[in-house]
Structures are given as structure tokens and as C-alpha cells.
């Protein structure tokens, strides 16, 4: 009986956990799969004394989870949805903090001769080779940030009917799974640099894909931190969410992000306060608010 009691206490303690303060970030698979969150965790925890945990979700699910009050802060990369999220009152502030870039990859040897510095030319060649039966394109097809970017690129090319085409495959899968699928069937796809190179690093020549387009500004992918509206969900740890934003946007945080590498490649680039450098509208107003919050915090 006594030992049963002890076990019960131990189980209860395990279940309810130690009472360290914890901030939960709802983020996309791209940041956690690339190892960025693991990399930042000890630095954040040392500085703020709160534990950092995150949910690695599809973009759509990240927004859904955040709107239900099941996370404290968002770290995502879908500008359109971010704006909607804030304007509909779920979020209070959205700050662009870093970007990564996407690459178009395809079968070794580039059979569709799609290689170009201009992503529009590259995708156009893939589409026309696809129409003549000489190329395949695999889409994430999962409503993720990457999928949104891909759809924007097709429509900027004026290609609309792709979803029902034979050369277009909707995988409904995460980035790594989509890349493996493309590699197996000899198809082109779009991928974030971090996932592609980390997969290439782990699979080596078994991943039969190479980069055919990179560096175009249309392939740059900005990430934002979005603070949530705590009046909807009072249990949200607003203070810790702000700490997370201040950490990411701080000089130290930005430097950490910029120096992080995957398979020897830098994959995330700090952009807080200088969004115009990659062709995005300036965020002076937002930056002013963040800095005011920062000085308030340090003044206390």
C-alpha cells in the first residue's frame, strides 16, 4: 500500500510537471526540422529563465492552434495569413524577424533544362516540359507556407490550370517527405534551403536531386513572430511571448540566427528592422513598438 502511494505521488508529479515557466511557440515544421529551435533554446532559457518549447505544425494548423489559445506565440512564414490573423483580432503584433530562401530542385542532370537564375523562367520551363510529358513537379499540397509560395509563383507566371495536370503531383506531405518523393520519381519541386541541404546531408547520393534555381528575390521567405491577443484567451503567457519576441529581435538573437548553419550552409538570415533590403515594405512603426517594449522591460 505504501509503495502504491509513492508510485501515485511520483506519477502525479510527472503528470503535473515541475513548475518552471514555459513559453509555447507554435511554429512550422521548417524551423524545427532545420534545428533552429533546438539551437536557440539554451540561449533563450539562459537569458529569461523560462523554458522554451514549441509545437512543430503545418502552417494552417499553427494558426488554428494559436487561434484556439493552445500556444503563446506564433513563429510562421505566411504573410497573407499573418495579416489576416492580426486584422481579424487573433493577433496583436506581427514582426518580421528573419528569412530563409527557397530553391527549386530537380533530377540530377536537369532533364527539363530548367536551370535559370530567374525563378519564373525556371518554373515556366518545368511546366512546358511537363505538358509535353518530359517533367514532373511535386507540390507539398498541404496548404503550408511553402505551398502558398509555390502557388503565388505559378500565378505570377500566369499558369492556373496546373492542379489538374498530369505533370503536377500533390503530395499532401511535409517538406522532407515531399523531397524524398520527388527524388524517387525524378520530379522537380520547391524546397526551403535548410530542409533540402539537411536531407542531402543525411541521405547523400540517395537523394537524387540538385538545385536548378536559387537566389531570386521571389524565393526569399520571411518569417514573423506574431503576438497573440490575450483578451481572447487569458491563459496565454503574454509576458513570456514578449520575451521570445524581444529575444529573437535582439542583437544577440539576430546574430545567433545568422550564424546558424545546416550541413555547412547558412540557412536563416536576420532581417529585423531592415525588411526593405529584400523588397518588403519597411516596418518602422512595428520596430518602434518593439523597441519601446524592450526599453520598458529593461527599465523595470
Amino acid at each position: 500500500m505504501a509503495s502504491a502511494g509513492v508510485i501515485l505521488v511520483v506519477l502525479a508529479a510527472a503528470f503535473f510537471g515541475a513548475h518552471t515557466e514555459k513559453v509555447i511557440v507554435a511554429t512550422t515544421t521548417s524551423t524545427s526540422d532545420a534545428g533552429l529551435m533546438d539551437y536557440l533554446k539554451p540561449y533563450f532559457e539562459a537569458q529569461y529563465g523560462a523554458s522554451l518549447s514549441w509545437l512543430s505544425l503545418g502552417s494552417g494548423q499553427a494558426f488554428a492552434v494559436a487561434s484556439r489559445g493552445d500556444a503563446d506565440v506564433l513563429l510562421v512564414h505566411d504573410r497573407e495569413r499573418e495579416e489576416q490573423f492580426v486584422s481579424s483580432g487573433y493577433g496583436t503584433l506581427k514582426v518580421t524577424v528573419f528569412y530563409n530562401d527557397f530553391v527549386i530542385v530537380g533530377p540530377i542532370g536537369d532533364p527539363a533544362k530548367a536551370s535559370s537564375h530567374d525563378v519564373k523562367i525556371c518554373l515556366g520551363r518545368i511546366a512546358s516540359a511537363g505538358k509535353s510529358g518530359n517533367a514532373l513537379f511535386v507540390s507539398r499540397g498541404d496548404d503550408s507556407g511553402t505551398h502558398s509560395l509555390e502557388k503565388r509563383l505559378w500565378s505570377s507566371l500566369g499558369i492556373e490550370d496546373y492542379e489538374n495536370s498530369n505533370w503536377y503531383i500533390s503530395a499532401g506531405s511535409g517538406m522532407a517527405a515531399t523531397l524524398r518523393l520527388a527524388g524517387e520519381i525524378g520530379a522537380y519541386t520547391i524546397a526551403d534551403r535548410a530542409t533540402f541541404f539537411s536531407l542531402k546531408g543525411s541521405m547523400g547520393s540517395a537523394l537524387k536531386l540538385e538545385v536548378v534555381c536559387e537566389g531570386d528575390t521571389a524565393l526569399l521567405n520571411p518569417y514573423s513572430v506574431v503576438l497573440l491577443n490575450s483578451s481572447r484567451h487569458p491563459q496565454i503567457r503574454e509576458d513570456l511571448a514578449l520575451d521570445f519576441l524581444l529575444f529573437i529581435s535582439s542583437h544577440v538573437g539576430q546574430q545567433l540566427i545568422g550564424s546558424y548553419t545546416v550541413s555547412g550552409q547558412r540557412v536563416f538570415f536576420p532581417i529585423y528592422g531592415s525588411t526593405q533590403s529584400i523588397g518588403l515594405p519597411p516596418e518602422d512603426e512595428v520596430v518602434a513598438i518593439v523597441e519601446a517594449l524592450r526599453s520598458q522591460g529593461s527599465g523595470e
Binding site: G58, D142, D143, S144, I169, S170, L181, E184
Partner: protein, 236 residues
């Protein structure tokens, strides 16, 4: 409150989808049913005879073999998926088959899941038989094939249970078919992988709706098998 709302929405969406007979949903549903049924039959075609052989002969290490099979009854689908993926991958030993990311690969993966379930339950059904049944057959000089036929008839209720359990394991798993099927729209997307996709995209009500369709489907198959089981149950 909001959670309940999503359930209600999911339920009404489920019936809406069934009534509208949306071609994509229909295709997803049919594929799920096809893959899991064929996988169950393949698993049964291999698992029943093997289970029969293992349980009707005594040999050294039999307990070990049975324990291994029982362990594999609980193997995580994602592990099976990974193994099949590695086998079928173009750089894998069976890559020449070129069936990765096809329904055949999904059947193969699920058959590896159903096989130990059927085999293990066949073994336990036979071991649960009255030992004097075998002795009676021996005493009456039953030839091996006759003996097998009679033992199988005696355990038919157990065999149907094995089919129910195997089909349940197949239709409900997502890890294996996600990995080897690829969740390709219009080709290898099944109910469970679609549910996972819609969960990832935050379309919870649609995911619930597909979950309800899955349950209805599963219920229909189980009801059929259970009716057969009841009809054939022993009058002993």
C-alpha cells in the same frame, strides 16, 4: 465550447460529404477500403497457414517464435512503413520493382502489419482448442489435410476475429501508408493520410468528417464479419 462546435460541424460535414458523393472523397474512401481489404486478405493468406503450422507442430524454439509473432502484432506502423520504404526506395534492394508511392506499396506495408495479427490470433485460437480434439483425430487416423481442415473449421470464429482485428489495424493506421504511399492527391491519398493532412492544415472539421466516414466504413465491415461470426459460432 468551440471544440464541441467543431465536432458538430464535422458531423454535419461528414453527412454532407457522403450525400454529395464528392468524387475526391469517394476516391479516397474507395482506396482506403481497397488497400486495407487486400492487405488483410494477403496477411490472412500468409498468416493463417503459418500460424497453423507453428501451432500444430512442436519444435525447438516454438515459444520463441510465437513470442516474436506476438511482439510484431504491436509493431508501430511507422516502423513497418520505414522498412518498406527502405526496401522499395530506388536505392533499396527492391527498388527495381518501381512500386514506391503506389497503392501496391501501401498494400505491401499494411500486409506486413496484418500478417502477424492474423498469424498470432490463429496460433492462439488453435492453442485454445481442447487438446483431446487432436488426440481424437489422431486416434481416428485422420490424414494431415483432413486434420487441418477440421481444426480450421473448429477455429473459424477465432479466424474471423483475426480478420476483424487485422482489418481494424490496417484501416486505422497512417504511419505506414503515409511513408510508402506519399499521400498523393488522386492516387495514394487514403482516409487516414487525408485526416492527417487536414489536421496539419488546420481544417479540423473536415478532418473530423473524414474520421466519421472512416468509422462508418469500419463499422460496416465489422458488422458484416460479426454477422458471419455469429452465424457460424459453435453450438457447443
Amino acid at each position: 465550447m468551440e471544440g464541441i462546435g467543431i465536432f458538430l460541424e464535422g458531423i454535419s460535414k461528414a453527412f454532407g460529404l457522403i450525400l454529395s458523393s464528392d468524387p475526391e472523397i469517394l476516391r479516397i474512401t474507395v482506396l482506403s477500403l481497397e488497400v486495407s481489404m487486400v492487405a488483410t486478405l494477403v496477411g490472412a493468406a500468409l498468416g493463417m497457414p503459418l500460424g497453423f503450422l507453428i501451432s500444430s507442430r512442436s519444435f525447438h524454439g516454438r515459444s520463441l517464435v510465437v513470442a516474436i509473432i506476438n511482439t510484431f502484432m504491436g509493431v508501430p506502423p511507422v516502423v513497418v512503413g520505414l522498412v518498406v520504404y527502405l526496401l522499395l526506395s530506388s536505392s533499396g534492394p527492391l527498388g527495381f520493382l518501381r512500386i514506391l508511392y503506389t497503392p501496391q506499396a501501401m498494400i505491401l506495408a499494411q500486409a506486413l502489419l496484418t500478417f502477424p495479427v492474423v498469424c498470432g490470433l490463429t496460433i492462439s485460437s488453435i492453442l485454445a482448442l481442447d487438446p483431446s480434439l487432436k488426440e481424437t483425430l489422431k486416434s481416428l487416423s485422420a490424414p494431415r489435410l483432413w486434420e487441418a481442415a477440421i481444426l480450421l473449421k473448429e477455429i473459424r470464429v477465432g479466424l474471423i476475429t483475426a480478420l476483424i482485428a487485422a482489418f481494424g489495424a490496417a484501416i486505422s493506421e497512417v504511419g505506414a501508408i503515409m511513408m510508402v504511399g506519399g499521400n498523393i492527391l488522386g492516387y495514394t491519398r487514403a482516409l487516414t493520410t487525408a485526416i492527417m493532412l487536414y489536421t496539419n492544415t488546420g481544417e479540423f472539421a473536415l478532418a473530423i468528417a473524414l474520421g466519421i466516414i472512416l468509422l462508418i466504413l469500419s463499422f460496416a465491415v465489422n458488422l458484416t464479419l460479426t454477422i458471419i461470426q455469429m452465424k457460424y459460432r459453435k453450438r457447443r
